[in-house]
Symmetry: C2
Subunit: 345 residues, 2 copies
DNA sequence: CTGAAAGCGCTTACAG
DNA sequence: CTGAAAGCGCTTACAG
């Protein structure tokens, strides 16, 4: 292999192979027909020079960067690293790559990031757990850059999203806890300014109400460990104490469990049953052994990338709000109702 | 704001503002002098049209993409999500953005990713916990794309890296455990094919040897939870059992702690003292309360990005191997020697 | 199948 | 300070 200390272009390869520059281009852009002998000559020359097409130039001319902008709220919650890896794998398999940004869930952090992504000419965007301002979503529609919200629903006609079936997940949590005989069931909810948090809570309380019951309490944990721990303390500060807690996600549930065991010296599940939401990998650690509703990251990712790529290929593609059913994963942190059907671990 | 369903270019703005296209360019590329009245006219026109310079075209011509390729081995170990967020923040602050890829630590996964990054015309690369083949590192040097290894050293003259001072960290772990009176100290090491793993072990055993002691055992945990748990079981299977364990990173240490408590029913630190390495956020959770050596992610990230950007600006920049001292963070998982100086939590 | 020509949307000397 | 011109490294009709 010949050393090349400076950038080698298609023209260099063309000269070395004795062909025109467009022919080199044809060899490297799939679908073009080049005579086999010519192709081999070009490939040999390219190999010798260490040539590789400049994707910047290619993107400029094709109008497709094959880049997907991914915006993630925070990686604190272990659901996101897991999802991010899977998103990357799925997109790479489809020959796209990721430009990533982190942004807290505030318009004034998210909007500038989206502008940057726009300047980078991304072909589409995935917004994980961040919401988008109306202004921006309109803007994206105008310039024709499709986007899908991942794990965060948002009202609005033209907004595609992929989430768990949060309402029905909330119901399932309540159903399980009621079936186990609990009567003082508290809910430390997901952030009530997010649809995820609202819907999980709505499903939970609706089921309870339909059984003629009321929630012991519903308090916003704001998807924060600290807040969830504080709410837990408050919940047990009075005379009347809950006998079960449904927590809006696993990330908070770990903090609740810790507070219950380490601070309040309670036994889980004997004193209190605990249910989370997500089924992140840590939930299955023996340390936590958390009963939870699984958000199937694989399927959510697959739904997200395929919808997004469809939107990119065909702008007329419907902006769906896809909900993926959550399965209850029964582990040791919550009392198991008699006759409850066995589930895998 | 005028709606624009199609892409708006500098030329459109120029026409609307009644100036030439290069003048528009000058307004948007910093440093160029434009009369104030003209600048304002152009900015107004740009705002009306929703114009934003196409960074692809800009990069093509300047030869700088302001993109840093980041390759991460896996996000399993919570150190990486934490570091990744910080890397992103640091790079964004310097007006760079990230193109991210995940690759297992194998040449045949890493090399193709680096090729892709090369085609994308990244200005530099950060390789987090992946090693690079000699072929590729030579190649990168030839094409003049600087890179720095993050949290993974590698021998070789022209290879820049930022790591913890792993050897001295290993020594500190041994020193602390010896001072606490332990005499049967085992080491579940980091992956012995990584310099991190080797050096932490070397520091540990060297200190012991200098005290006239020997390690109870040194077994490779391979940075894997499963492997670490299995090694823990093996360690306690015989008649002679360790009274302390130094684990090659926190990620494994959590699995060791779990096995110790949940499976082997041992009390930590009364039966066994445990020390990890990294000080990821979880280490401070009461659930784990892990004594550990802190890898200061902030400082490592800062060292990484500033060295990389220096290399980008001035190719003559020395390829340093920067080591950042690890501080021992004393928590509850290991017996505390008498008279040990108090440290912050 | 292949070459000559045009052009993607910018930046950057070069004149004025 | 500003415009006309050239050019970054490709792809894509258009002829042949």
């Amino acid at each position: 292999m010949t050393k090349s200390s400076t950038k080698v272009t298609a023209l260099d390869v063309a000269k070395r192979a004795g062909v025109s520059q467009p022919t080199v281009s044809r060899v490297f852009s799939r679908g073009s027909m080049v005579r086999k002998s010519v192709r081999e000559k070009v490939e040999a020359a390219a190999r010798d020079l260490g040539y590789m097409p400049n994707t910047l130039a290619r993107s400029l001319i094709t109008g497709k960067s094959r880049t997907i902008g991914v915006v993630v709220a925070y990686l604190n919650n272990p659901f996101y690293p897991e999802a991010l890896e899977k998103l990357s794998a799925s997109l790479n398999a489809k020959n796209y790559h990721i430009s990533i940004f982190f942004a807290a869930n505030l318009d004034d952090e998210v909007d500038p990031v989206i502008e940057k992504l726009l300047a980078q000419q991304v072909d589409g965007m995935i917004l994980a757990s961040v919401s988008i301002s109306n202004k921006l979503s309109q803007r994206l529609n105008e310039v024709g850059i499709p986007f899908v919200l991942f794990n965060r629903g948002q009202l609005g006609d033209n907004i595609a999203s992929v989430t768990a079936a949060n309402y029905s997940g909330g119901r399932k949590a309540a159903e399980f806890l009621v079936a186990a005989g609990h009567s003082r069931i508290a809910h430390i909810s997901g952030w009530q300014k997010s649809l995820n948090g609202q819907q999980r809570q709505a499903g939970f309380t609706d089921y309870l109400n339909q059984q003629g019951m009321e929630a012991f309490a519903c308090i916003d944990g704001e998807f924060s460990r600290e807040k969830a721990a504080q709410v837990t303390r408050d919940l047990f500060a009075g005379d009347k104490k809950p006998d079960a807690i449904f927590v809006g996600n696993d990330h908070m549930a770990f903090a609740v469990l810790e507070t219950l065991k380490t601070e309040l010296r309670l036994n889980v599940p004997n004193d209190v049953s605990l249910i989370g939401y997500d089924d992140v990998q840590m939930a299955s650690w023996k340390t936590f052994d958390l009963t939870t509703l699984r958000q199937p990251a694989n399927r959510m990712v697959e739904a997200t990338t395929s919808m997004l790529l469809n939107m990119i290929e065909d702008p007329a593609t419907l902006r769906q709000k896809i909900e993926i059913e959550s399965e209850l994963i029964v582990r040791g942190s919550a009392r198991i109702p008699d006759n409850w059907p066995k589930s895998e671990k």
